[in-house]
């Protein structure tokens, strides 16, 4: 059934054809299941270190990247699994990295917080809050110098917008009209600190005015709405008009990382946001408009689960790196 048969659909949803929606849903499922499997692996002692889960934030990762083209760039954060998968990263290679294996995206050197796929345009997740923002400025400069028509999308959190790097980066990107899209995933907290105590203005997007760029404040759990605004910002960047700041209001269901005892937020608040599950919301809307039936939707989810299970098995069987290669990639040869 095609989108235009249902006149009462929101224009944002109607703008996405069925194939696009199916791909978006698949990626949202992959993100959710990747992280559930990551959590299970951690509980079973299969990895050491920590991880930052973005369960609950899937619509923001997938929606903002949906209008990007294959050759565009992204830069991600410590909470970056979703952005990688949204850009089509292979869960097998991500899990191999997560398990520290030589076959992983970064040959086991990076781990969960540093997954990068430079050939695929993913210039890396980052363990330093705000670290990617100034880098995006440079990527924008090189796109402009090389006139290759690409766009760079950089993700960061509400907390990161309080770092000096945020302010310096937005200002430079704006004065030089760089093809950058700044995406703030506002999940209400920077670790334990709520945004109301961390910031003097109500919305991160309000800060765009200080840097002379459009600021969009969105419901980050609405895939179609996010994709529609991202499309505008990406088009603006590509046409040489300069950067935009998009703020997706969303929520992480899990703690900040594995050491979080969640003392700073209530069970009720978490429950309230779980009821706005971005995946179920999209599925319900699609069913209401008869665009997909329950069986088709179920199959998308099951296929994603199968892919993730296979990825974990693949990664577990891969070899560890050899300690004699410890200093191999410190310098380029």
């Amino acid at each position: 059934m095609s989108a235009d048969q249902k006149p009462n659909q929101r224009p944002e949803l109607a703008a996405l054809d069925d194939a696009t929606v199916a791909q978006a849903l698949t990626r949202m499922h992959l993100i959710r299941k990747f992280e559930e499997a990551a959590e299970a692996s951690y509980m079973r002692g299969l990895i050491h270190g920590t991880m930052h889960l973005s369960i609950g934030q899937e619509a923001s990762a997938v929606g903002t990247t949906l209008p990007l083209e294959a050759h565009d760039y992204i830069l991600s954060t410590h909470r970056g699994h979703g952005h990688c998968i949204a850009r089509g990263a292979e869960p097998r290679l991500m899990f191999a990295e997560f398990f520290g294996k030589e076959t992983g995206y970064c040959k086991g050197r990076g781990g969960s917080m540093h997954i990068a796929d430079v050939e695929g345009g993913n210039l890396g997740a980052n363990g330093i809050v705000g670290g990617g923002l100034p880098i995006a400025v440079g990527v924008g400069m090189s796109i402009k110098a090389q006139k290759n028509g690409r766009v760079c999308m950089v993700f960061f959190g509400d907390g990161a917008s309080n770092e000096g790097a945020f302010h310096e980066a937005l200002n430079m990107a704006s004065i030089w009209k760089l093809p950058v899209v700044f995406v703030c995933e506002n999940n209400k907290y920077g670790m334990s600190m709520d945004i109301g105590h961390a910031m003097a203005v109500a919305n991160v997007a309000d800060r765009a005015a200080a840097y002379g760029m459009p600021g969009h404040c969105l419901d980050g759990n609405d895939l179609a709405g996010v994709a529609a605004v991202a499309k505008v910002a990406i088009a603006r960047a590509r046409s040489g008009e300069g950067p935009s700041l998009i703020e997706c209001k969303t929520y992480r269901w899990r703690g900040h990382s594995k050491s979080d005892r969640n003392l700073y937020r209530s069970k009720e608040e978490i429950e309230e946001w779980r009821n706005q599950d971005p995946i179920r919301r999209l599925e319900d809307e699609l069913k209401a408009h008869d665009r997909f039936d329950a069986a088709t939707l179920m199959k998308l989810e099951e296929d994603a689960q199968r892919d993730i299970d296979a990825a974990v098995e693949f990664a577990r069987a891969c070899p560890d790196p050899d300690p004699k290669d410890l200093t191999r990639d410190v310098y380029a040869l």
Partner: protein, 340 residues
């Protein structure tokens, strides 16, 4: 209570390193209203490594202050508070993030007293959890203490036991200078004897952890602990190692090192920071420049971190920093070499 019993109670009072730091913070805040704790998630979260714990409930949000994620800003704010009569203790959540605060610590805090002709001082303490071993990878596992030891105007400490963690923090809070304390993440859970009173461990004084005659092993932070364990194993091989825990990197207690080398004639320096251009180079050069050089029976050996960022994979991560086995092997080789 008879004094023997009191002694016995003292003996068994054990705290973890993290608890010892918390106790020092609590005692300092109780004793002096100017002292406050400042940093990311130090309040109700209790600190990323649980160090501040319940302090916010005891002292309130005015004295245990959660800050935005703004390392440069909060380091600068600590400088401003310090030069105007307060005694800030700043926590940099992972020592790696001090790179964002570099400007205020290196250009401002370290130099204000000197530039102002002695007319101001900067009594601030910066606590920095550092080191590898937790699988946190390259941006959360570094040992950057040598950088700061290079800056005149700063003091740099690396306590290795719960006892020193408490006593040195209290000494640092008293100190009228900016003091950086690097706490190793793997030490937080280690336990040890910690007296209840608010005692001080002097800054700039190394501790001899074990006496020996064949080789001097100098280390600090977790490497002092590893060196002690290595010395124990060396003893079973008939090698008598003297272990010096530096505790203070700047100022450094060269006297204690020199006296030990005079006795043992051999020196092994162990540190987790990257080997090249590090603490070991400085100590070796100090020996080479002094008359103690003539007492050496063998070249000085440095065991430091690999010339690589800390990798994520646990096998590689272990290989990137000196381990107990490496210390045993290096010390044994050094002794044999000296005899040959």
């Amino acid at each position: 209570m008879p004094s023997e019993t009191l002694e016995a109670v003292r003996e068994i009072r054990e705290l973890s390193y993290a608890e010892a730091v918390r106790e020092a913070l609590g005692q300092a805040m109780e004793a002096d209203e100017r002292v406050f704790l400042f940093g990311e998630d130090v309040g109700v979260y209790g600190g990323a490594f649980g160090v501040s714990g319940d302090l916010v409930h005891r002292f309130g949000k005015e004295r245990v202050i959660d800050t935005p994620i703004s390392e440069l800003g909060i380091a600068g704010a600590a400088v401003g508070a310090a030069i105007t009569g307060m005694r800030p203790v700043l926590e940099i959540q992972f020592s790696d993030f001090v790179t964002l605060a570099m400007e205020q610590l290196v250009n401002q805090a370290a130099k204000i007293r000197f530039m102002f002709g002695g007319k101001a001082s900067v009594p601030m303490v910066v606590r920095l959890p550092g080191g590898s071993g937790t699988g946190a990878a390259a941006q959360h596992s570094q040992s950057l203490e040598a950088w700061f030891a290079h800056v005149p105007g700063l003091k740099v400490l690396q306590p290795s036991t719960p006892h020193d963690a408490k006593g040195m923090l209290l000494a640092a809070i008293d100190d009228p200078n900016p003091v950086l304390i690097f706490e190793h993440k793997l030490l937080y859970k280690t336990k040890g004897h910690v007296p209840a009173e608010a005692y001080r461990v002097p800054i700039g004084k190394a501790a001899i952890r074990r006496e020996g005659t064949d080789v001097t092993i100098v280390g600090s932070s977790i490497m002092a602990r590893k060196a002690e364990a290595a010395a124990e194993r060396l003893a079973t091989e008939g090698i008598s190692a003297e272990v010096i825990d530096l505790r203070s990197i700047r100022p450094i207690d060269f006297t204690t090192i020199a006296e030990s080398v005079r006795k043992t004639h051999r020196l092994l320096v162990v540190y987790e920071g990257v080997k090249t251009m590090g603490i070991g180079a400085e100590i070796s050069a100090m020996i080479a420049e002094s008359e103690v050089f003539d007492f050496l029976d063998a070249p000085i050996i440095r065991l430091g971190g690999a010339d690589a960022p800390i990798p994520y994979n646990p096998v590689l991560e272990k290989a990137a920093v000196p381990q107990e086995d490496d210390i045993v092997t290096a010390a044994a080789n050094l002794v044999r070499r000296g005899e040959a």
